[in-house]
């Protein structure tokens, strides 16, 4: 899967760098910014890849200065907070956004490493099927979630957000692991099907609303739980230690001690299957 800190070395080892020519509030769609799309292309060929500037079809070369030849490692610089779908569907390589990222970044990706040095917009990693997303700042709403009308959100992979995230993180999540070191907004893990959402900061209100299975872990202050959840016992979950060992190997600065100890287990949502769980650190 790859190391969370490895992308930081990408620049030193050679990459294709895209530098935004100017800031703009006009939305841009640039799903062609992906190691898969850049593979085997020259700078000139990359510059001719399409993008949308508002409703106008343009090229990447119109929007970015492009240099470099290592097409499986991409660095994006400048103000791309309005650029949507960077890394969309990527399956390989590494992509580093050295600043804030726009909405739908890394959506539907199934491999590779995506690093965002700033904040990410809504729908980060939506419906992803693999790979690693590592965010140094915060993220918006629907982190790893399912798009409207879709049955399943994130299905595999790992997302780590060091800051706060918005509403409905892990919406309809089917599998995979989301780690939020900051606070989560309302309805975290809403309609969760399976997978794990690990919230080291404050867990937002109404967690797990409509969840069928899956695990939400709350390490911050005790969250406000919905009445459709029942207390199910207090124990020391060994599987969490397995997750922590895995995250430590991936480069996340965590320790077993941070998550050691007892957890109160609440099962629900009994308006659904009732096999989900919220583990609250005691």
């Amino acid at each position: 899967m790859g190391c969370l800190s490895c992308a930081a070395l990408a620049r030193a080892s050679g990459e294709v760098t895209l530098r935004r020519k100017e800031s703009s509030s006009i939305p841009i769609e640039a799903e062609t910014i992906s190691p898969d799309r850049f593979r085997g292309l020259s700078e000139a060929q990359i510059a001719r890849l399409p993008a949308y500037y508002g409703r106008r079809l343009v090229t990447l070369g119109d929007l970015f200065e492009i240099e470099g030849v290592h097409t499986e490692q991409i660095g994006v610089e400048g103000d791309v907070s309005h650029v949507k779908k960077i890394g969309y569907g990527m399956t390989r390589g590494s992509l580093t956004i050295r600043g804030d990222a726009g909405p739908h970044t890394g959506a539907l990706m199934s491999g590779g490493e995506l690093t965002i040095d700033g904040d990410a917009g809504d729908w980060l990693g939506a419906q992803m099927k693999g790979g690693v997303i590592n965010v140094m700042g915060g993220a918006g709403n629907f982190l790893g979630g399912a798009y409207p009308g879709e049955a399943r959100g994130m299905n595999r992979g790992l997302i780590v957000v060091r800051g706060n995230v918005g509403q409905e993180a892990g919406l309809r999540m089917r599998r995979g692991l989301i780690v939020v070191l900051g606070a989560t907004g309302d309805f975290p893990g809403a309609h969760m099907i399976a997978g794990t959402l690990l919230a080291l900061g404050r867990l937002g209100p109404r967690p797990g609303a409509g969840m069928k299975r899956g695990t939400i872990v709350a390490l911050g202050e005790a969250p406000e739980l919905l009445p459709a959840f029942r207390y199910s016992g207090t124990f020391e979950p060994v599987f969490l230690r397995f997750y922590i060992q895995h995250l430590i190997k991936e480069g996340l600065m965590l320790s077993q001690r941070q998550l050691a100890g007892l957890y109160k287990r609440y099962v629900g949502d009994f308006n659904e299957l009732g096999k989900g769980e919220i583990l609250v650190h005691v």
Binding site: M1, L158, F235, E236, V238, F239, R241, F242, H246
Partner: protein, 295 residues
């Protein structure tokens, strides 16, 4: 050839193809991890009577186990993958799952797997929970002290079994001391185990018997009290023989274990080191004693 005044016989140990697996068994304390591992690998001295050969390796510090708790690697060897699955299911189910605070993880990163957790999960009676993390699926089975966590499948690979050598001594005391010293050196080798009690065999066998229907019997050519009754192939002065059998996850592991054990056994009161084989007709692997000692 002599090593420290001990004759090293010009012969070879004949070893066989087997299937090997390694599990990492963890628990809340090193003591309970050891208990679970020893129970799971218990009564697994010989394929012939036990269906499996098994043993434990050196304990692992918490930071080197999958769940960050104290752990012990346990190795298992069988004649087939099907036999491995059956053995692991029984041993993990009856020996690890029952042990306080235990968990059981795959310790062999290979493609081929046998089902363990995926079959034990039904013990959860519908309340079991699956967790999937980057290619590894764990089953959380509710039990009386909380949860038993067991990995879905355990890796299995072609391995080597039956590496051996014989320590021929002037006295039982000297032979046993030499065998203990050999085992102490061999347990340091990862990926190899000595499945017999304390790593040592006192009742080696031969594949024949005077009794109808019995296929094995005592290794009478190496029994020092039978000199007056049958053909005994021991040097003069040998009054006790101990055998050490080693299984390993690959040929190199068995070789390293033999290379560690044979020199360690060459102490006071030891007259000869020998090895068992079938003329090279049955086993795929041969470990020549002179080559092992020369290095």
């Amino acid at each position: 050839m002599k090593y420290q005044d001990v004759e090293i016989e010009d012969t070879f140990a004949e070893a066989f193809e087997m299937w090997g697996s390694r599990l990492i068994i963890t628990a809340a304390t090193p003591g309970w991890a050891e208990t679970a591992a020893r129970v799971a690998t218990g009564l697994a001295t010989s394929i012939i009577g036990c269906g499996c050969e098994a043993g434990v390796n050196q304990p692992l510090p918490p930071e080197r186990t999958p769940d960050g708790r104290p752990g012990v690697p346990a190795l298992f060897f069988t004649t087939s993958k099907e036999a491995m699955e059956a053995q692991l299911l029984t041993r993990v189910g009856q020996g690890v799952m029952t042990s306080p605070t235990s968990a059981c993880f795959n310790g062999l990163n290979v493609r081929e797997r046998v089902k363990v957790g995926s079959r034990l999960r039904y013990f959860g009676d519908g309340f079991q929970v699956s967790k999937y993390v980057e290619g590894r699926r764990l089953w959380r089975i509710p039990v009386m002290d909380g949860e038993f966590v067991v990995e879905e499948g355990m890796g299995v690979r072609p391995a080597v079994g039956g590496g051996n050598f014989f320590i021929m001594a002037e006295t039982q005391e000297a032979g046993l001391a030499a065998a203990e010293a050999a085992v102490a050196a061999m347990v340091q080798v990862p990926d190899a185990i000595m499945p017999f009690p304390g790593g040592i065999v006192r009742s080696g066998s031969k594949i024949s018997s005077k009794y109808k229907g019995q296929h094995v019997s005592s290794n009478t050519p190496y029994c020092p009290t039978l000199r007056g009754q049958t053909q005994v192939e021991l040097p003069e002065g040998v009054q006790a023989v101990f055998e050490i059998v080693v299984d390993g996850l690959d040929e190199g592991a068995v070789r390293k274990a033999l290379q560690a054990g044979i020199p360690a056994a060459c102490g006071e009161g030891i007259l000869r080191i020998s090895a068992g084989n079938y003329g090279g007709k049955l086993g795929k692997y041969q470990y020549h004693l002179h080559k092992l000692v020369r290095g």
